[in-house]
């Protein structure tokens, strides 16, 4: 049971609204997003419930949920939302807030997804571009699941689906500089 | 609910009246122009609810805030009043459909113009008070009175009495 006290100032709601540029209070719980969302079945709380949790100021519950990590940002929900709420933006806001405030879900899938994104960004940092085979391999090593998708590899490689060599932008340095500056900017903006 | 305003103590310095100080027992006069359907009814409700507010306001009844010509404000400031409060229906509630929208435009321009030529903006105030907002009317009057007490008596352009 959750006890709801006097919600004098729902700072969580304010933070989410500000970051997402949308007003969560507009949600009237019709659930169209839930049945639209291709991954709502995998989420701890589907988008409709997340909206209500934000309204109730249940910050930690939101941060620890896997919902925003599962969001594919396919925008199907926001396109159909009768109140024109940008649901992916809300998910993204919670995600960023959770990262900023150092909340880490112990859910294996969430960890995998986070790891994937980290590797991906790291890859771009190093080469400026993404290189799929390396990406797959690194992901499998880091998630200790060496043989995942391995059955695909020979076929894909054989057919030339996934090339072995890889390229990088000439000015990977410029990218690295950009990373640094962007990080700094992020700090400054806080 | 009782609203009381403390007597302002000591000397009062007014921006519009440099060098002029007011006697300590000075009380400002505030000209209140209220629309009949919302604010006047609201001020009546303040009375029937016995909500107390400072006695400085003198109320004039007009049918609608749109009846208020800006020169009523100027005239008040030049003659009897130290400040003006004009109150009407909330946007969308106007008894005459759209009167307060026209009034709102004139009020903004008038307030800014008077401020521009040297009146403190707190001397010209506006409020939306509905017929149900008795407590709000008392609060508004208390605030306006307090603001104008801080500013002190108005002397400029009052050199000759009408």
């Amino acid at each position: 049971m959750i006890t709801l006290g006097l919600l004098e100032k729902n700072t969580f709601l304010e933070a989410v609204n500000k970051k997402s540029g949308t007003n969560v209070l507009e949600c009237y719980q019709c659930g169209k997003c839930v049945s639209t969302c291709p991954v709502s079945g995998y989420m701890d709380f589907p988008p409709r419930e997340i909206m209500q949790m934000i309204k109730l100021g249940l910050k930690e519950e939101c941060y620890m949920a896997n919902s925003m990590w599962f969001c594919l940002t396919c925008s199907a929900c926001s396109g159909r939302c009768p109140r024109e709420i940008d649901v992916p933006a809300v998910m993204e806001a919670i995600r960023h807030l959770a990262i900023e405030e150092n909340y880490r879900s112990e859910n294996k899938k969430v960890k995998d997804i986070r790891k994937f994104h980290d590797i991906f960004l790291d890859m771009i940092k190093r080469y400026g571009r993404n290189y799929e085979l390396r990406m797959m391999a690194e992901f499998n090593i880091r998630t200790r699941n060496l043989f995942k998708d391995m059955h695909l590899a020979p076929k894909a490689l054989l057919k030339g689906k996934i090339p072995i060599g890889h390229e990088s932008t000439k000015s990977a340095k410029a990218i690295q500089k950009m990373y640094k500056l962007a990080e700094k900017l992020e700090k400054d903006m806080k | 609910m009782e609203t009381e305003v403390k007597e302002t103590q000591g000397k009062i310095f007014s921006a519009e009246n440099p060098g002029i100080t007011a006697p300590t027992d000075w009380q400002p006069v505030i000209m209140g122009i209220l629309c009949n359907w919302c604010s006047y009814a609201g001020s009546d409700l303040t009375g029937t609810s016995r909500i107390q507010y400072p006695p400085n306001i003198r109320i004039i009844r007009v049918p609608c805030s749109s009846r208020v010509d800006p020169w009523f404000i100027i005239k008040s400031l030049q003659t009897t009043a130290d400040g003006v409060l004009i109150s009407g229906c909330h946007p969308g509630d106007c008894h005459y459909i759209s009167g307060n929208y026209y009034a709102r435009r004139r009020f903004l321009v008038t307030k800014k113009l008077l401020n521009f030529i040297g009146y403190h903006e707190n001397r010209i105030q506006f409020s939306w008070v509905s017929a149900a907002e008795g407590p709000k009317f008392a609060k508004v009057v208390a605030k306006v009175t307090e603001d104008i007490k801080k500013l002190g008596p108005l002397h400029r352009y009052k050199k000759e009495n009408f």
Partner: protein
């Protein structure tokens, strides 16, 4: 000759080489000169904006700045995901000039961001700039007999205020393009359902379920193959198909082709140019349908007869 700035995206040089290749062939036929952005970088894909705000804007901005230097009016983007990132970023930056100025400082070495370039997906470019009439005129080998299900994916037409192209729910541009090539576009309800793209590696379970549903409905529609305009869709639907078949126990056997491959075919390029061996699900059987006459379904015949009979009575 039209000139076009071209942003291929990482997968064009990887998994979707056939897309990149056939696109270049098709554009040659259509008399469009493509100028690839020199030294472009990854747009950041989903990962960047999932994790950080500024980087998600900085990565596409670098490409935009580089593209502006080429001084073409329009930039064409092959990959739907890149397209969405770049166009979304541009809209966001254009609406917040102050933010744009700040982000610009991270890539200032490349130049100043002006926001002058018009971004289009390659499908959009074919449909809006080149036009179906021109495309029709270049067809030398009609694809009649081939039934296709056009799959747009999520990002080509969504969100509507960013893409400003076609309907987000039931787009028709690719269908009309296929009809222009002579193929028959089937009624297909899952045109814009998500295939799970960004979880392609990290969460294959989701991808298989989503892509499975799409394949199922596409099969239902009676199509011989699925046409796509996005490398991520292609690889999810194609590469994962055997797995999906294994898990669901249903046989789909639905090849997944890029619209440019079919265009190239219709424009008379030999099959070897399509790089068909790269497909996990074999294309051969499907392409054999080209030239077949499509019979009128029984139901339609019946209804037509009934209508005629009724009108005679009156």
């Amino acid at each position: 000759m039209n000139k076009l700035t071209y942003f291929p995206g990482c997968s064009a040089h990887g998994t979707s080489e056939e897309f990149d290749h056939t696109l270049k062939l098709v554009m040659q036929t259509l008399d469009v000169q493509m100028e690839e952005i020199p030294d472009w970088n990854c747009c950041g894909a989903t990962s960047a904006h999932v994790m950080t705000e500024n980087l998600a804007l900085a990565l596409p901005m670098r490409n935009l700045v580089l593209a502006e230097r080429l001084e073409n009016k329009t930039m064409g983007i092959a990959c739907a995901s890149c397209y969405s990132r770049m166009k979304g970023t541009k809209k966001h930056l254009d609406e917040n000039p102050e933010l744009a100025r700040r982000i610009n400082t991270t890539v200032i070495d490349e130049g100043e961001y002006k926001g002058t370039i018009d971004i289009k997906s390659m499908l959009q470019y074919c449909y809006e700039e080149i036009g179906l009439e021109t495309i029709k005129s270049k067809v030398t080998k009609s694809l009649s007999g081939l039934k296709v299900a056009c799959y747009y994916g999520c990002l080509l037409t969504r969100p509507k205020d960013i893409t400003l192209f076609d309907s987000p729910e039931y787009p028709m541009s690719m269908d009309l393009l296929m009809e222009a090539l002579g193929a028959k576009a089937m009624e297909f309800d899952f045109k814009t359902e998500c295939c799970g793209a960004s979880f392609s590696i990290s969460n294959t379970e989701v991808v298989e379920s989503l892509s499975g549903k799409i394949l199922e409905v596409a099969k239902e529609s009676g199509a011989h193959l699925i046409v796509v305009a996005c490398p991520l869709c292609q690889s999810n639907l194609d590469m994962r198909q055997p797995d999906i078949e294994k898990h669901t126990g249903r046989k789909f056997d639905l090849p997944v082709m890029y619209f440019t491959q079919l265009m190239a075919l219709a424009f008379g390029y030999p099959e070897k140019e399509l790089k068909l061996p790269k497909h996990i699900v074999s294309v051969e059987a499907a392409l054999k349908h080209i030239g077949e006459a499509i019979p009128e379904p029984e139901k339609v015949k019946k209804i037509k007869k009934a209508v005629e009979a009724e009108s005679e009575v009156e």
